[in-house]
């Protein structure tokens, strides 16, 4: 009897999980489906989900009109560049905060997080002026720097949480065995924190890939990534939903695939230390 209830409960949970999962995924699925419709079908009411004339015409148009691969390459360089640069800065910072905390470490951590609370548009003009004066407008280097700075608090916080889970005794032991500070971080700490570092890396690549304020405002033609590519298909006067959907699908596909393949790693990293 007890077993029957638990099976029923399990089935209930599974169904609920599937419903929630599908509800979250539905907008993306709908975008993908719309990208294979004609513009007329994209706005038809009631909308059809499967029974329409599937066409790849929108993809052909989008590829003809825009230089997709230039935007794609810019996105790759900007998101990977900013994440790697961020990790290089954040690993030593998180190490020191986790293992040799000072009196104000907690305050420093909170202060770092507070920079995320400022609306970005508040500092748009000063940053724009600085970029103009040092010639970083519309360059990949400029975007790598800005995105690194924006995501740095999150990277440091994530790494700090992971590092806190690593027993300090192991590091002490390595020190006893004569490891230098450099050896300690590179050969002892980093290998143990690989799952945490990997999930931080993945999450930040996703955040940088999707960042749409700075990437739109600091670029023009040369360094514009896929966010600018999507924005070029949005129109307040004219119905181009199918083409916009095709552009969106092409922009999110790489990151969606990356997320799909690395979901175990991501979940593991995000729940690291959650259950003792």
């Amino acid at each position: 009897m007890a077993r029957a209830v638990s099976t029923r409960r399990k089935a209930g949970f599974t169904i609920a999980a599937w419903i929630i999962g599908l509800a979250i995924f539905f907008p993306i699925l709908w975008t993908i489906v719309t990208s294979f419709k004609t513009e007329a079908e994209a706005i038809s009411s009631p909308p059809s989900f499967v029974f329409f004339n599937w066409t790849t015409e929108n993809y052909t148009t989008v590829l003809e009109r825009s230089n997709y691969f230039r935007h794609f390459w810019n996105s790759v360089v900007i998101s990977l560049g900013s994440t790697v640069l961020g990790l290089i800065i954040a690993i030593p910072a998180a190490w020191s905060m986790a293992f040799v905390p000072a009196k104000h470490t907690k305050n420093v951590l909170m202060w770092m997080l507070s920079t995320k609370m400022l609306p970005p548009v508040g500092v748009l003009i000063p940053i724009y002026l600085i970029f103009r004066d040092i010639g970083l407008l519309d360059t990949k280097t400029g975007l790598v720097i800005v995105l690194t700075l924006i995501n740095l608090p999150i990277i440091v916080w994530m790494l700090y949480t992971y590092f806190k889970e690593i027993p300090g005794e192991i590091l002490e032991a390595s020190r006893m065995d004569g490891a230098s500070l450099r050896d300690e971080i590179i050969h002892v700490l980093t290998p143990m924190a690989v799952p945490g570092i990997a999930s931080t890396l993945l999450l930040n690549v996703i955040l940088a890939w999707n960042e749409a304020f700075w990437t739109l405002n600091l670029t023009a033609a040369k360094a514009a990534p896929l966010t600018a590519f999507i924005a070029s298909y949005s129109s307040p006067e004219g119905l181009f939903y199918a083409k916009l959907s095709a552009a969106s699908t092409m922009a999110i596909a790489p990151i969606l695939i990356l997320g799909w393949f690395s979901q175990k790693q991501l979940v593991r990293g995000l729940t690291f230390g959650a259950v003792k």
Partner: protein, 436 residues
């Protein structure tokens, strides 16, 4: 010594040749609409004529583009050589000295051919600061079959009373046919563009000559009451969320009896994607017999930011894209119906165009019926028909638009919306130092 001199001279010549061979690159910021995309496709004609000029395009959604180019021009960022801007930006930017005056375009450009209303909207003190790429006004688009069934005949210049009567007669909610579709979505370029133009025909105005807001006037009350009544009684459900695109979709699917919106919609509702393409008629925007109609005026135009290092090349491009020859190029490749409308008198004297575009005459009359320098019944201190050409307007009108949209959604009464609009506009204008 002679050898050295010779070598130096040779090197100088080489440098000179390299400079000539090195193409100048123009970065052009545009919006995403059919006409602008067509310009990009046809730009090879320009680069063939001018092999020394290369074109880099930045296409963005209208609001993103506005934010982007405003940041750049205000900080003299120098990212763009040609910017697509509207009639709202041109007078403000020209007064700031941010735009290059276009008073030395080539003779064959024929500046006098530009429609006077459009040229007026893009000039400051008689000097043109941006060249119009396409112009639009607003007009009534209606279903000829439905109005006939209702036993009515749409006049070329209807009154608001007739619109109310026709909306009531055409509404058939059981079959999802709504007498009238209008913009309800909050935004200075959405519901406030329509409401501001509508209020002009009711004798209302945003400000009196001392910059005092006028939302407490009986004229605004009358305009808003009629707007709310039309949409609540005869409009589609959820009108408070409908902008241009939503109404376009409704009209194309045969769910609107009438739609008062941009003239540029005419080619969409009679195009391939429309299920009612052969049943659409056009009329001027309505009036109340006060001498002003409820239509607006807008022109997407090409302006050159002051301080660009490619001013001459930019002027050459702007002259090409807004010339009569460009219209012919489009006609040759895509047909006359696809020529950007609303900028030149000569286009409306071209019989081939008039034959290809059944909405041409009404578009022209609508544009001519708008006067951005004298938009209201009573005098005002500002220019602009559906907007007030001051930098503060975007923010104020978006906030006012939210009140109007809330009134439409039934969250507040018309009186409350107008009172809130009056208060917030007064506060903002005082803070900005107007009327002091």
């Amino acid at each position: 010594m002679t050898n050295v001199t010779r070598a130096l001279m040779g090197a100088t010549a080489l440098c000179g040749m390299a400079a000539i061979a090195q193409a100048e690159t123009l970065t052009i910021a545009t919006v995403n609409n059919g006409d602008m995309i067509r310009m990009q496709e046809l730009a090879s004609d320009f680069t063939e004529q001018h092999p020394d000029i290369e074109l880099d395009w930045v296409t963005l959604e209208e609001n993103v583009l506005r934010q982007r180019v405003t940041t750049d021009i205000a900080t003299k960022g120098g990212q763009y050589d040609v910017m697509t801007i509207g009639t709202y930006e041109v007078p403000i930017w020209a007064n700031q000295g941010w735009l290059v005056p276009l008073d030395d375009l080539p003779e064959d450009y024929d500046k006098d051919d530009i429609l006077p209303a459009i040229a007026g909207g893009l000039s400051v003190d008689g000097t043109l600061y941006a060249a119009p790429f396409y112009g639009e006004s607003s007009m009534v688009m209606y279903r000829t079959d439905l109005i006939e069934e209702a036993g009515l005949e749409m006049p070329d210049a209807p009154t608001w009373d007739f619109i109310k009567e026709a909306a009531a007669a055409m509404t058939d909610k059981e079959n999802e046919v709504y007498g009238i579709c209008l913009r309800g979505k909050a935004g200075w370029g959405e519901n406030m563009a329509f409401l501001t133009a509508m209020s002009n025909s009711y004798g209302a105005r945003w400000f009196d000559e001392n910059w005092t807001p006028q939302f407490d006037s009986p004229e605004w009350k009358a305009a808003l009451d009629d707007y709310l009544m039309l949409l609540n009684e005869y409009g589609p459900p959820g009108s408070a969320n409908n902008g241009f695109n939503e109404n376009l979709a409704l009209f194309q699917q045969g769910k609107c009896g009438m739609w008062i919106d941009a003239t540029v919609a005419a080619s969409f509702v009679t195009g391939d994607d429309s299920t009612v393409a052969d049943k659409v008629g056009f009329a001027l925007a309505p009036d109340n017999g006060l001498g002003k109609r409820g239509n607006w005026l807008w022109a997407w135009s090409l302006g050159i930011p002051a301080g660009t290092d490619a001013e001459d090349a930019a002027k050459t491009f702007v002259a090409w894209a807004t010339s009569k020859e460009y219209a012919e190029l489009v006609a040759e490749n895509e047909g006359w119906a696809n020529v950007p409308p609303g900028t030149r008198t000569s286009l409306y004297e071209n019989q081939e165009y008039l034959d290809a575009a059944p909405f041409a005459q009404m578009t022209l009359e609508s544009i001519n019926a708008a006067d951005p320098n004298n938009p209201t019944v009573d005098p005002v201190p500002y220019t602009g028909v559906q907007f007030v050409a001051i930098p503060e307007f975007q923010g104020i009108a978006t906030a006012v638009g939210q009140q109007m949209s809330a009134a439409l959604a039934g969250q507040m009464s018309a009186e409350e919306a107008l009172e809130a609009a009056q208060n917030l506009t007064s506060q903002e204008m005082q803070a900005a130092g107007y009327g002091q």
